[in-house]
Structure formats: structure tokens, C-alpha cells
Amino acid sequence: MASEKLKNEQLSAEQLRAFHAHLRDEPGAIAAIKVLIDLIQSSAATTIMGLQIELQAAADVLKLHEAEGISIASGCELFMRFVTRTALDFSEYEACRHKILERGEFFKEHSTRARTKIAELGAPFIRDGATVLTTGFSRVVVALLLHAAQALKKRFTVLLTESHASGLGYTLARTLAAAGIPVTVIDDAAVAVGLERADLVLCGAEAVVENGGVISKVGTCQLAIIAHAYRKPFYIAAESFKFARHYPLHQRDILGSTPRGVPQLAPPVGGEPDAASRAPTPLLTYERLTRDYTAPKYINLLFTDLGVLTPSAVSDELIKLYY
């Protein structure tokens, strides 16, 4: 397969290992950019063109990552764009490479900086006495909630869905409770009930697409629709490197890299799954979707490190970058 060949040529096993290590504590986009910077460091290319080809091939491999493909793609694209632009300013290859690496070093710390900025911008939207509903596990959302509780000394409660399949809701709940924020974990299916007593919804995102909608953990879309029906504000917290040049129209447009038709079921409450009775048949298939697309009309505001944006402002940022 072409990608296999590329993988062997472009990324050593070591680099791929490093990538997966980065992925554990960084968003996909940043992990990918770190790998690309390392690649430039070790690259034997002697021209910009050669370097770009190598980077592109490596980016193509990284993008194949199942869970965070879109975020990685947007990170890679942002970086490639930056390399191209820097290349225009330098006539010497070495000088250019040096500059790219220099700025790359600075960028490595970017996700922490971005998170701090978002926390500062978004935390004032949490009022004293508010109840915040959230789903999934987003590092940005955690940073925002902690900033509101610790720096701004807001008193609020958090309603959390258990985020089935990954179960990350429990991890988030423990993190917040340890920081002194009262948390209640509710069923994923109970969001409509929970929302009635929530004042606002705050979610993270995997990618922010061109029309201002977001791609995020499955369950976000239904939450946004319910929030819209209840007239509760729905906010997204996401770093700007997650802005992606995608324009999904339907949910099926983003399914591309989600594993489908795989009957991996979590054990039902009270016992092991009865494999025989659950085995797929020609008329019975199982789908586990990992992400969904939330249309911009359901989103009130996006808290990003570029500022608080309305969904329609996202496209402007992308246009500024790519045209």
C-alpha cells in the first residue's frame, strides 16, 4: 500500500513512537507539528522543495491516525503553510531552515499558552452560582473551569455526562472534584433532563470547521440541539490550531476515519456481554461512532486563543491564513 511505503520511508519507528507519546498529552495538531519539527532537524534535504516533499509525505502518514485525523491534518496544514511562507522570505536554504526551527521551538509551548488564554477569555462567562453542563474530556474545558474556580473564585457546579465508551467523564469528574468544584456525573442519555437545571453548556472540540461548526466527541451534537431547544447558551472552547479547512454538510462527511461496523460493545451493566446473542448477523450490524459534527447555528460563541468568536468569524481567520 502506498501509505505503508511512505510510512517506512518517511517516519522511522522511533519517530512514530515519539508521535504517539506526544499524542498522550498534547492535542493531535501539536503532536503532529512536533514530529514535523523533529523531521526538519534530522532531514537531509538541501532544498526547500525537497524539505516540503518530505514534510508532506510525513503529514500524509500522520493524518491516517484514526481518532484525531482531522485535528492532525489541520495542524500539519498550518505548519506546511508556515514553511511555505517562510521560504518566500529567504533566499538561503540554511537561513530559512534555521528560522523555521527557531519558531518551531517557540511554537512547541503554544498549546499551554493557548489554553491559558482561552481560560482567561472564557471563564467570565461562568457566573457565580451557575451550573455548567459538559461532555467528554477536553483539556481546554478543564483549564477554563479550573481558572474560573481558582483564579476568579467563582462558585459553580458542573454537570458531567459519563461519556460512554471512553468513560472519560469519570476522569474529568475526579479532576474537577479534586480542585474543589462540585461535580455530578449523569448518564449520557440524561442530558435533556440535566440541561433543564444547567445554565450553560461548555464543550471542547476536535476541530473547528470553516463554517464555524465543530467536530467533536460523539454526543456533542445532540447536546447542542437540546441546548438550542432549551434556549441555553452553548459554548465551545478550542485552540485556533484546531481550525480546519473542512466544510461538512452532513454527519456522514466526517465519518471517514471512524471505525464502523465493529461490534465492540462495552460490558452491559450487571454482567459480561453474551457474545452469542450479540453476534452480528446479516441484518444486524453494530456501529460505534466516535465523533459528530455540530452545525454553527447551535453554537453561541467559540472561546479561542484568538479571542471570543462568533461562529461566522471562524471562516475569516481561515481565509486570512490561506488566501
Binding site: F82, D89, P124, F125, L306
Partner: protein, 430 residues
């Protein structure tokens, strides 16, 4: 001394703001712009950073005097934007000059003058902006007098814009109001009045229904002024708005401010009209000047709101009567409650109690002592000045530079303000 005179001017203005002798867009905006011009003209500044700092400080002082007058902050941001633009132009010019003198132009691709560069996706990777935010001192000390005049010109243009704003909005009126249309309006504003009168000049027959805008009842005055201008005006109560909405072709209203998400901070009662308009699918049109665009998001419905005196809703005499009623209720209650209720009631209630009981108010009306209150006042009558109208309810925003949709506001904001100035000065935010 010029600076003394300036300080005096500022203090006179802030005092009037604090006393609310000056309020509203028209009274505050141009005065603020003139003061900003004085800052540029009269204060000594060697570097642009100094000037910006000075503007921010004076601006913050004005904003602190009347945080609810959002246009003051907006004017200050506009002036800061003008300064930054001019400085940026100068820096770029100097760089071009120095680059052409050196043969190897080893400059970076981005314009490195981060003096006005706000964070964007475009320069995310490009530079460490944070360190560069306020540099350029040595660059500009010599050339600074070159930009002083352009900055003053820029501020003068802004003052002119404020002067011609009502006219520029009104000029668009004939495009929006057609013959035999029925318009609903609420609240009193120079802009909407001029807008409607401009249509009257075209001799198109049309009708305006004016909601009386309780509790200020400014609607009556509006209706009178419109009818004097030959417009058929009908005055209705606020309560009748929904009933009449089916007959309305367009709602045209003024606003206090337009917020960053495109929502409005408008006179209380506007939200009810907006919801009625939405229910009947009637276009909801807002007239506002560009200086009313505020690059701040409301984090709470009560942000920047004002609680006005309750007198128009509940007069002083009536309060006295109600308090006595509350007292009577307490009398009928437990003995312990009686003592405490009586003890805390002060002046007016005692006076009313001395006379022959509640006059005019039938016993039992609005007299329930709300739980948790022990100050002797049985009735609460808040009189908020503004409503927040979410952007989804607004069909069109007519500004002095043309009509826009609320979802387009973010674009206008980037055009007129620098993101670095959104929260200028230390205490400017609120």
C-alpha cells in the same frame, strides 16, 4: 497651563457622567472624542507608546465614571485604533527605507511591527508577539511629529462622523420604508426620529405606531413629534404590542449599544417587542451608529445594566402605604415577627402609620412580606434600563455606513477596533 485646563475639563465631564446629567450616545460620544483630541494635541508625548498609554489612562477614567455608557469606551478604542494605524504605517515606511538601504533584505516575511498586530491564525506560528507588543521607541522618537497631524486628522474625521451620523442613517430611510407601510417603534431616539421624518419628506403615505415605552412614557413625546412632521402616528400601550403586531410591516427601533455577538442592549421593553415580531415574522430593524458597536460580549444579562429609580412605577406616597400594609400583615402574624418588623421600619412608614392608615391602596395588594426580607419594605419594584436582545431576533442593523446583518458584526469590529484595545486600561472592563 494647558494640562491643568485639560484635567479640569475631564473632571467636569466625569462628574456630569457620574451624576447622569449627561447620558446617552449623543451627549457622551462627541464630548469623549473631543477630549481624546485634546489628549493628542496637548499632552507631551515622545513615543507612540506614551501616547497610547495616556489615551488609555484618560479613557479608563471616563469609562469608570459611567461604565454603562458603552459608547465612551468605543470612542476611546476608535482613537487608539487610529493611533495604532498611523504608527504602523510609519514603522512600515521606515522599515522599507532601511531595507532598501541594506542590500541583503534579511527581514522576516511578516510585517514585524507588532504594534497593532493582533493574534490571528495567520501569524500563530510566525512570531512571539507577546514580547513585541509595545516596542518601537527608538524608531519613532525622531519621526513622531510626522504622525501627530495625521492622528489629529483621524480624530477630527471621527468627530465629523459623529456629527453627520444621524443624517447618514436617515438618508437610507427611503430604501427601507415603502408606501402604505405600518411601522412600529419603541423608545425615543434622535436617529429613529430622523429616520422616520426622512420618509415623510418623500411624501409617501405611511403610518407609525408608537409604543408608549413605560415607565418613561417617552412614546407620547415621539408620537407628538412625528405627527407634527405630518406622519400619521398612533400611540399604544406596551401591552398592546403583541396584539397589533399582526398589522405591522416592520419594527424599527433604536438601541443603546450593539454588542460583539450582534445582540442589543436596548431600552427595557425591546425584548418583548422583538419576540412578538419574531412570532409574527415581522422584520425587526435596528438603527444604530457605528460608534455604538461595542466589541465586548455580555457574560451576564445584568452586565452594564442599570436599575433606575422606581418612582415612575411606584411613587413615594404609595410606598409608604404599602409599608403600612406590610406592617398590618406582620401584626396579624406571630408576635415575635411583629416586634422585629416594627423595629426596622423607619421614617416614611412611621409617618404614614401616624396618619390614618393606608390611604388609597386597598388592603392586601402587594403586601406579602417576601421571605427573607426584614427591612419593612413589602414591595420590590426594580426598573431596569435595558434589555438584552439576542442576535437571532434581529433582521437588519442599519448603521451610518449601511445595512448589515448581526452575524456580520464581527467583521465591522475588526475594521474599526484593534483587538489589543478591547480591554484597554487597567480597570476598563467594567
Amino acid at each position: 497651563m494647558a494640562s491643568d485646563a485639560f484635567e479640569r475639563e475631564v473632571s467636569v465631564f466625569t462628574t456630569k457622567l457620574k451624576r447622569r446629567q449627561l447620558s446617552g450616545f449623543h451627549q457622551t460620544a462627541s464630548r469623549t472624542a473631543e477630549l481624546m483630541r485634546s489628549v493628542v494635541v496637548h499632552t507631551r508625548w515622545q513615543t507612540p507608546a506614551k501616547l497610547i498609554e495616556r489615551i488609555q489612562r484618560v479613557g479608563a477614567e471616563l469609562v469608570r465614571a459611567a461604565p454603562q455608557e458603552l459608547c465612551i469606551g468605543n470612542i476611546v478604542r476608535r482613537v487608539l485604533h487610529i493611533v495604532r494605524e498611523e504608527v504602523d504605517g510609519l514603522v512600515r515606511e521606515l522599515e522599507r527605507a532601511s531595507a532598501s538601504s541594506r542590500s541583503d533584505a534579511l527581514t522576516t516575511g511578516m510585517p514585524p511591527s507588532a504594534f497593532s498586530t493582533a493574534p490571528s491564525l495567520h501569524n500563530l506560528l510566525a512570531a512571539n508577539l507577546h514580547n513585541e507588543a509595545l516596542r518601537t521607541p527608538e524608531l519613532c522618537s525622531a519621526a513622531v511629529h510626522e504622525i501627530k497631524q495625521p492622528i489629529i486628522d483621524g480624530v477630527n474625521e471621527l468627530i465629523d462622523e459623529l456629527g453627520s451620523l444621524v443624517h447618514s442613517i436617515a438618508e437610507q430611510a427611503p430604501e427601507h420604508i415603502h408606501a402604505r407601510e405600518v411601522i412600529l417603534t419603541l423608545g425615543r431616539s434622535r436617529i429613529v426620529e430622523a429616520f422616520l421624518k426622512r420618509v415623510a419628506k418623500t411624501e409617501r403615505p405611511f403610518e407609525v405606531i408608537v409604543a408608549d415605552t413605560a415607565p418613561s412614557y417617552e412614546g407620547a413625546e415621539v408620537a407628538r413629534r412625528l405627527s407634527e412632521a405630518g406622519i400619521q402616528a398612533t400611540l399604544i400601550t406596551d401591552a398592546a404590542v403583541f396584539a397589533l403586531m399582526a398589522r405591522i410591516n416592520k419594527v424599527i427601533i433604536p438601541t443603546h449599544a450593539v454588542m460583539a455577538d450582534g445582540g442589543l442592549l436596548a431600552p427595557a421593553g425591546t425584548l418583548a417587542v422583538a419576540l412578538a415580531a419574531q412570532h409574527h415574522s415581522v422584520p425587526f430593524v435596528v438603527c444604530a451608529g457605528i460608534p455604538q458597536l461595542t466589541p465586548i460580549f455580555l457574560t451576564d444579562a445584568d452586565d452594564f445594566n442599570l436599575l433606575l429609580a422606581p418612582a415612575p412605577i411606584l411613587s413615594y406616597d404609595e410606598t409608604a402605604a404599602l409599608e403600612v400594609n406590610a406592617l398590618c400583615d406582620a401584626d396579624g402574624g406571630a408576635d415575635g415577627a411583629e416586634g422585629s418588623a416594627a423595629a426596622v421600619v423607619d421614617g416614611p412608614a412611621r409617618r404614614a402609620g401616624a396618619s390614618s392608615g393606608p390611604a388609597g391602596v386597598p388592603p392586601g395588594i402587594a403586601c406579602r412580606q417576601p421571605s427573607g426580607r426584614d427591612d419593612g419594605f413589602a414591595t420590590d419594584s426594580p426598573n431596569p434600563a435595558y434589555d438584552y436582545v439576542p442576535p437571532g431576533l434581529i433582521s437588519l442593523l442599519i448603521t451610518n455606513i449601511g445595512g448589515t446583518h448581526p452575524s456580520y458584526i464581527y467583521r465591522l469590529l475588526t475594521e474599526f477596533y484593534n483587538p489589543l484595545d478591547i480591554h484597554f486600561g487597567p480597570q476598563a472592563a467594567l
